[in-house]
Amino acid sequence: MATPTIDKFLTEIAGILREKNATQLRDYMVLEPPLPPLYNQIVSELKTSYPVFNQAPLEAKCKEFIPEYEESEEGGSWTSFITFLLKYFTFLRDVNVEQLVETHDMLKSLLNQCILALSASTGLVVLPTVISLSRTLARLAIGLDKRPDLIAHLTRRESTSGTEEAGERVTLVESSANVIREAFKKCLSERSGNASGLDRSGQPEGRRMGIYLTANLCLKLFFHCRKLRSAEQIFGNIYQQSPPLARFPASQRVTFLYYLGRYHFANSHFYRAQLALQAAYSQCHLKCLKQRRLILIYLLTANMILGRFPSTHLLHRPESQGLQEAFEPFCRCIAKGDLATFRRLTNLESENAEWFLRKRILLQISNRCEVLLWRSLARRTFMLSGFQGDTTNKKAPTLDLQDVLTLATLLERRALGLDNKPKSTKRPEHTNSIFMAKPTPAPEPEDPQGYIDPDLAGAMEPSGPDLPNIDTVESIITSLVDQDLLHGFISHKSLKFAITGSKATGALAAGFPNVWQVISGKFDDEVPGWVREQTSSGLGRGAAGPGMVVNLSGARPVGAASA
């Protein structure tokens, strides 16, 4: 039976391949309905002339128009492209978009074949098609992931057929990301051109153009399914092999820096997170408010943890709507040392807790900003009751730890609802209680004593609220000194903190140095994963080479240490 439309399509594809018109090829590979009329024609010709059970005639048809081996100077094989084309036809013929899960599987397999075509020596022309298919697959995977009713039956299947580590569940989203990652690897391992990976005009050469496009899609999916380990591999690979990020278009740079910042944030590297997110924010288009806002939320949190608060100006920008109400109360109580309000704000029952939790910043604020709050409380205690020093008698300014304990106890009691309200003794739930299982009523014991594990025999029942004592306060102050957030030493014997070096600047400035200056002074501007134009020698990428292991989540910085 005659197949005029298929013939025409193949003729034009052959022409596109000869001209190496990559974007036109992408535009021809239409997948998503509603299909243009000519594509519907192709589908009906496929259904009548090339039925499902026999692929050979269709393959022969493709080869008729596209010679397997290119007869040009460069040579090269189109074999894998022909297989891709065959799969494309099969997709058009067999897909039923009502069946989203099956569509996803077919699309994944089609992309797989497209990536094989990309790997061929003739493959560069397929790159935009690979990107386009990857985007569609990513969108479909995330869309499906939000429909638990459609993928419930897959959970078991995936868990048994997982190819990664045994026992680890590979979700539909992750499996899609793993396919796109193959495209990313192909782009990154491009060997054409010189070692810099840039062509004469300074643009990424060959398949390298697709590095950040594919990486960003993988990162989107890995973040969606919370596989930060897999995201880490992407960052590590890029750090070792990619041309400088600055050579890629703004949308790719901003998206990549957003994920890189989030990754470092999730690993408690808040200074690195701040650098990446600040760069993303400063390069993000003014009109892209949604993206700016999302970047800003993490940038703002990272900065708060590092001791830098948002200016009123920043909080009045269009993308900051609502953020002032959410973040300013934290800043206020951190500056005051108001532990009671801080506990209330970080409590799961608080007004905005759910939003903070969903954004995955509540625990970071709760744990990390508490350090800054204790510094402020010590500072305030010193202002209210500290010995301000006596230069004539060479007596250093001191802070009585007992006074810190007095105030900390007052504020913790207030947070627990014990202050001035003796009736309400129920302790509000602390943030960390989400990690604890709810106590289930114990079954009636057969033994009147009940079962007591030998490990716990003789253990005391916890009684009363968890209020600070002098040891807690001493260890907190010691920790602050250790982090350079307080400057001086502790006399364990007299339970006092003595400020050193107060002569020149005064006790307050000497004993309680500026948080941001202390913390930022401990780091350089190297951000693993971010390939910059000029790199300092001996550090990070300057020393990177083939086979080098890039450790992205090493020791915690001061901003990450808890009191």
Binding site: R147, S251, S311, E354, T406
Partner: protein
Amino acid sequence: MSAAAEGSGPTANAVTSDEGSSTTLKDQKKPAVALEEDDEFEDFPVEDWPQEDSEVPGEQDTHLWEESWDDDDTTEDFSKQLKEELEKVKANK
């Protein structure tokens, strides 16, 4: 032959029909202020733009971050309460 690259096919179906299906009891709690929004980092509508398009005109030197936020006011209520407590505890000793 011409081709329309963008369609509203399978993916659009999946994405648009998800609303409301993932509502849990937890989600029903009313969120405060204007904070509810999507967590997904959306694709940019354009591929590239010059740096000027990212800068608020006339704001190049505006400072976005407060590095000095220490609160030295010891006359407001909070400090007064703390001072009272310190005096009370010391008097009881």
